[in-house]
Subunit: 228 residues, 2 copies
Amino acid sequence: MSESRPRIVPEATVARLAVYLRVLAGLADGGRSHVSSGELASAAGVNPAGLRKDLSYLGPCGVRGVGYSINGLRDRLTEVLGGERSRPCVLVGIGRLGSALADYSGFASRGFQFAGLLDSDPRSVGSEVGGLTVRPVEDLEAVVAETRASIGVITTPAEVAQSVCDRLVAAGVRSILNFAPVALTVPAGVDVRKVDLSVELQVLAFLDQQRDGSAPVVAALRATGGAR
Amino acid sequence: MSESRPRIVPEATVARLAVYLRVLAGLADGGRSHVSSGELASAAGVNPAGLRKDLSYLGPCGVRGVGYSINGLRDRLTEVLGGERSRPCVLVGIGRLGSALADYSGFASRGFQFAGLLDSDPRSVGSEVGGLTVRPVEDLEAVVAETRASIGVITTPAEVAQSVCDRLVAAGVRSILNFAPVALTVPAGVDVRKVDLSVELQVLAFLDQQRDGSAPVVAALRATGGAR
DNA sequence: GCGACTTTGTTCAGGAGTTCACAAGCGGTT
DNA sequence: AACCGCTTGTGAACTCCTGAACAAAGTCGC
């Protein structure tokens, strides 16, 4: 049943597919059976044509004149995004942010379950967070092997993030979500995604400052009439 | 001393400038006085040429044959990114994630201080988080006015995020960082940045599945020899 | 059974961002 | 004082992504 079309899916599209999937989940409760691309796009905050282009990477999955079957599209997206099987994750660094993530219901509801929590602080080790007992970071390799985790989440301080990453990779983890403010270096074949919270705030501060027009660079920019 | 060149700074560049600034802060402790673009780029995880292009938007700030003055560049970046003045932020939704953010030392160390915490749950209201007392969400407009906050952070459930956003905007907040899994609609002149944690995990799951080669779409892709 | 309307899937053009490669400029050295 | 090596800054090609227009296809009504 595999398609003959050898399409490659851009990473930007993959991120949007995940958004569409969540919107569909919310729509399924409404009792409707079909959605149009325009409706979905507006709910997801994207362009309708772009949404259709994104979905076209999966092959034809809509019906012309009608729209997309909500359940059908949801199943297809789930399949493509790899949400069928539950993927065990390990989380290293049970500080404030790590604890919040371990408890975060948004993960569990989407098939992601933390199967192991690790920390180096003896005061954290042994405590229970989100139904799991925190284990010492020395057990990292053992926990990865036990849980067969394929995704590792790093919420440690920046100083130890790289060494934790190296150990995760050596233990067989090939996908890493990094919250520590450092650029991790990994061998080829390992994927890293970085979430940098303070960078987000700093970008907002820049935009704020830009609006105020107090920065020299932007003052010049304003003078050209290019501001909007 | 303002430059005559009316350059516009791409948003992707702004995000990287924030990363450079953090790397520089770590480098300043080392006792060195200058860095080369190659060194900085490797620490920040980007291309050296791209880094130079990014910095060129600020006008010439390096010395040929020597590199960039660590302190000089740090000051320039701080100025451009708007980190001079401390920008007060309000945080709405003091759940697990919200509490973690309110405490997050990474924000305070970069000049971002939460000046107001709001929640709708009576059990949260009145409690102290990160040195601040949580106030009822009814006080939102008053808190924004008191603190003159220009940045709002939303960590509420998805259902109420849009209404909270509307109230923030009406109260004068023009920069919003959204952790709720919905696409917020705002009037022109307001900037929104979205952090979607479950999307990040889902992208990693996709890449994982892609490596396994078990997805039909990707099986076809592999067959063409395009895998890396 | 046929026509018109609706909505998808695709093609095409436009723009933004990234990478490579080279000339210009500065410091140190002989 | 002139040369040489090193590093920045920038111009150009390239890739990727996004946004708009058009044809194919299926459904509903008559």
